[in-house]
């Protein structure tokens, strides 16, 4: 089964919930940190490093001696990754979406493809947890290909927890793709609710089943709870605002280590989700 943990607003507790779920599960589980711009699950899981692989995408390179500066490649490219200036095409690899269109359309065969390293995938293990993370290189903007590389390690026979990036754009869509259930983590604030609504719209558009966890539930007001009631969205769990959890967090420990009741809650939640959405596994 594949469970994605997403949020809309950043900093609501996606990683807190994701690593909590992974630790609460009493069987082999794969934790995949797809928040590739700043993965932080490993800070809590402290996995022992198993392997590290670089992730490349294909980007164009121009043979300036053959380029006739016709501009066909630049006209085709929707991302300003290849433009024609000063008598030849010039490439901005960090803008490229690797569609290969410029190579195809070039009438004189002046464009070929080369590897561009966008980041890496790290794999490690921590007791029954296999922990994967994508790390996007600084200065790179193309998270989805790297997220795809992380998700190649999803294994159908076990539980997979996807720790998603914030927002509702391409990196989030790539991360939740193929999930059996999505947990939206929010906080009981106007900002939390605003972004939660965007996430709910996205999940409905994608037709993915989802429910909500409110983190630091007694810190704000009840408008998120009311919203869930009005919209008929299952409220899966409320994690209280707790000094004990905050102190544990500051030491790099998880909610499961901080509060045994939360471990039971998360374990119970997983049992329910696996039963209802995962066909029992």
């Amino acid at each position: 089964m594949q469970i994605a943990v997403a949020s809309g607003k950043g900093g609501t507790g996606k990683t807190t919930v994701s690593v909590g779920l992974a630790q609460a599960y009493d069987a082999p589980v794969i934790y995949l940190d797809c928040d590739v711009e700043e993965p932080n699950g490993a800070i809590f899981l402290k996995p022992e490093r198993k392997f590290h692989t670089d992730v490349n995408v294909r980007v164009p390179q121009v043979d300036k001696d053959n380029c006739v500066a016709c501009g066909k490649c630049s006209e085709l490219c929707q991302f300003n990754a290849i433009i024609t200036m000063g008598g030849a095409a010039m490439v901005f690899p960090e803008m490229c979406h690797s569609c290969g269109g410029c190579v195809q359309i070039c009438p004189v065969g002046a464009i070929s493809e080369t590897d561009n390293c966008i980041g890496s995938v790290n794999c490690g293990s921590s007791s029954q947890i296999t922990a994967l993370e994508g790390v996007l290189n600084i200065g790179h903007a193309m998270a989805p290909p790297l997220i795809k590389a992380v998700k190649k390690h999803v294994h159908k026979d076990v539980l997979n927890i996807i720790d998603c990036p914030p927002g509702t754009s391409c990196p989030l869509l790539e991360s939740v793709k193929g999930s059996d259930f999505v947990i939206l983590v929010t906080e009981p604030t106007p900002f939390g609710l605003h972004d939660l609504k965007l996430s709910v719209e996205t999940m409905r558009e994608l037709q993915l089943p989802f429910g909500i966890i409110i983190n630091r539930s007694d810190s704000g007001d009840d408008r998120v709870v009311n919203y869930c009631k009005d919209e008929g969205i299952p409220l899966l769990l409320e994690i209280p605002e707790s000094r004990k959890i905050a102190e544990a967090y500051s030491r790099g420990e998880t909610v499961v280590q901080a509060d045994s009741r939360l471990k039971d809650n998360l374990e119970g939640l997983l049992t329910d989700l696996i039963e209802t959405y995962g066909g029992g596994k």
């Binding site: 991302f79 300003n80 990754a81 433009i83 200036m85 000063g86 010039m90 901005f92 960090e94 803008m95 903007a141």
Partner: protein, 120 residues
């Protein structure tokens, strides 16, 4: 000589926009005829990345050989340099002031980008 200046306004007295890629428009000034026209650049305002690349192409289309702006990032600098367009950074507050400073020889041509991308 044709000079492109980043601005949000429509005349020589308009404020100079210190951003290059995300400036709403360019005032394109002909120093021989003293006439000017405006070149729209608003398609870049919401671009997540690469605003400077598109803006530099817009400038090149006007035939300008000089750009005066507040700051210029690395991608825009690469495109403008390939098109042999000179870049001058200025603290001038209006378009007219920037043109006067250039004509008086008080601006120094930039030899590299003076800010990282997304500096705003």
């Amino acid at each position: 000589m044709i000079i492109a200046i980043t601005t949000s306004g429509n005349e020589l007295s308009a404020p100079l926009d210190r951003r290059f890629g995300r400036a709403p428009k360019f005032l394109v000034y002909n120093s021989e005829t003293k006439e000017f026209s405006l070149k729209d650049n608003t398609q870049n305002l919401n671009a997540p990345q690469g605003a400077g690349i598109q803006a530099a192409q817009n400038v090149a289309e006007t035939g300008a050989k000089v750009v005066i702006t507040g700051h210029c990032g690395p991608k825009a600098f690469r495109v403008l340099s390939s098109a042999n367009i000179a870049i001058y950074n200025t603290e001038a507050t209006t378009v007219q002031e920037a043109i006067s400073l250039l004509e008086e020889g008080k601006l120094v041509e930039a030899v590299q980008a003076d800010v990282e991308g997304h500096w705003v």
